[in-house]
């Protein structure tokens, strides 16, 4: 379903990959008033989309430029590469940032060891294990202060 609200210019967010992260991000964009298009090769994956999602779904390979163009990638303000493959996310991020000049590109990587080449192209990296570690450090520090952790 797609809803146009009168008198308001909507920004377009393209989410590549209906993973748990991808679908939640798509819901978040809907909530913030973006037009959202989410792409996945597996149409069943869209069943994970949350109730607050109000965008369009496209069944296809988001690393294929023709599929991205169907999703109006040229007009996108934000693109999130959230498939379950690091290589595919890296490719999608490079296409959207370097070929289509999308201003905000986010790339999910489970291994961010070689991400410096992407950050040079102004691509934002989201690495779950890094985030996990940061959160662990934070909680551990709190626990240390409280004296409950040896």
């Amino acid at each position: 379903m797609f809803r146009f609200l009168p008198g308001k210019q909507h920004q377009l967010a393209v989410v590549a990959g209906a993973s748990r992260f991808g679908t939640q991000a798509a819901g978040l964009f809907s909530e913030k008033g973006y037009d959202v298009i989410i792409i996945d090769t597996d149409s069943d994956a869209f069943s994970k989309l949350p109730d607050n999602f109000e965008g369009l779904t496209i069944e296809g390979d988001a690393s294929d430029t023709s599929v991205l163009e169907t999703a109006r990638i040229k007009k996108a303000a934000v693109c999130v590469a959230a498939t379950d493959s690091d290589s595919t996310n890296s490719l999608i991020a490079q296409i959207t940032a370097r070929i289509y000049m999308v201003p905000g590109v986010y790339c999910r990587l489970s291994d961010a060891a070689n991400a410096d080449m992407l950050t040079r192209s102004r691509i934002h990296i989201i690495c779950p294990s890094d985030l996990c570690l940061q959160e662990f450090e934070r909680q551990n520090r709190l626990a240390d202060i409280g004296g409950t952790l040896q």
Binding site: S85, S87, Q94, D111
Partner: protein, 222 residues
């Protein structure tokens, strides 16, 4: 040259076989069974692992290699391998074999030196074949060293209207006979070839492509 071959099955096997004599080869293959097979059959060390990982390429010692070929089944993986090799290992040239022809231009933009798409090549080959099959049939003699080629002269052909002596035939080529209206003519230098003729040409095998090129219709008239 120092050449790294990553991923792939039969293609990797073939490349290793044809290159190992004269080059230093490093092989990385993510498939355990196939890595073992390659190591056994070619008697070379094979690193079994994911070539997208720095520590795997480090183990393969590909630093400052001349060429890396990526034969990964997923195009995105091939790009990742090529970019890693170039960025972190100073590999001079990278070659990616891709399945999606749209990735040819794209991957070059992203720094891969050479991008090969089989679909693209097959389409080129088919275009050529469909043009040729209507014009040429051939027959090999003496272990394929000598070929007998039948060529139909079309009206657009470059040689149509020319005497044999002006056709600039390549060396080791002789027109054995011309079949015109069902009659056989043994030509000499002055015999003029015209559209509708069928030529039977005896040549060295390596000259066949040049010969066919000579008889092809001029560009634009196909």
């Amino acid at each position: 040259m120092k050449i790294a071959i990553t991923g792939g099955k039969a293609e990797a096997d073939f490349l290793i076989a044809s290159l190992k004599e004269h080059h230093k080869i490093a092989v990385v293959n993510p498939d355990t069974e196939y890595a073992r097979y390659l190591a056994d059959i070619h008697s070379i060390p094979v690193v079994c692992g994911d070539p997208r990982k720095v520590y795997v390429l480090e183990q393969a010692e590909i630093r400052r290699f001349d060429v890396l070929v990526s034969l990964m089944p997923d195009d995105a993986d091939s790009l990742a391998v090529c970019q890693l090799a170039k960025e972190k290992f100073d590999v001079k040239k990278t070659i990616a074999v891709v399945t999606n022809p749209r990735n040819v231009e794209l991957f070059r933009t992203f720094g891969v030196t050479e991008v090969v798409s089989s679909a693209y090549m097959v389409s080129q080959h088919l275009v050529q074949l469909s043009t040729l099959s209507s014009l040429v049939s051939s027959f090999s003699l003496e272990n394929e060293k000598i070929v007998l080629t039948e060529l139909d002269v079309s009206s657009g052909s470059r040689v149509s209207g020319l005497p044999v002596c002006s056709m600039h035939l390549p060396p080791h080529v002789i027109i054995a006979c011309i079949i015109r209206n069902g009659n056989m003519i043994v030509p000499d230098g002055q015999t003029v070839v015209s559209a509708g003729d069928r030529l039977v040409v005896l040549s060295a095998a390596e000259m066949q492509n040049k010969l066919i090129a000579l008889f092809m219709p001029e560009t634009g008239s196909i």
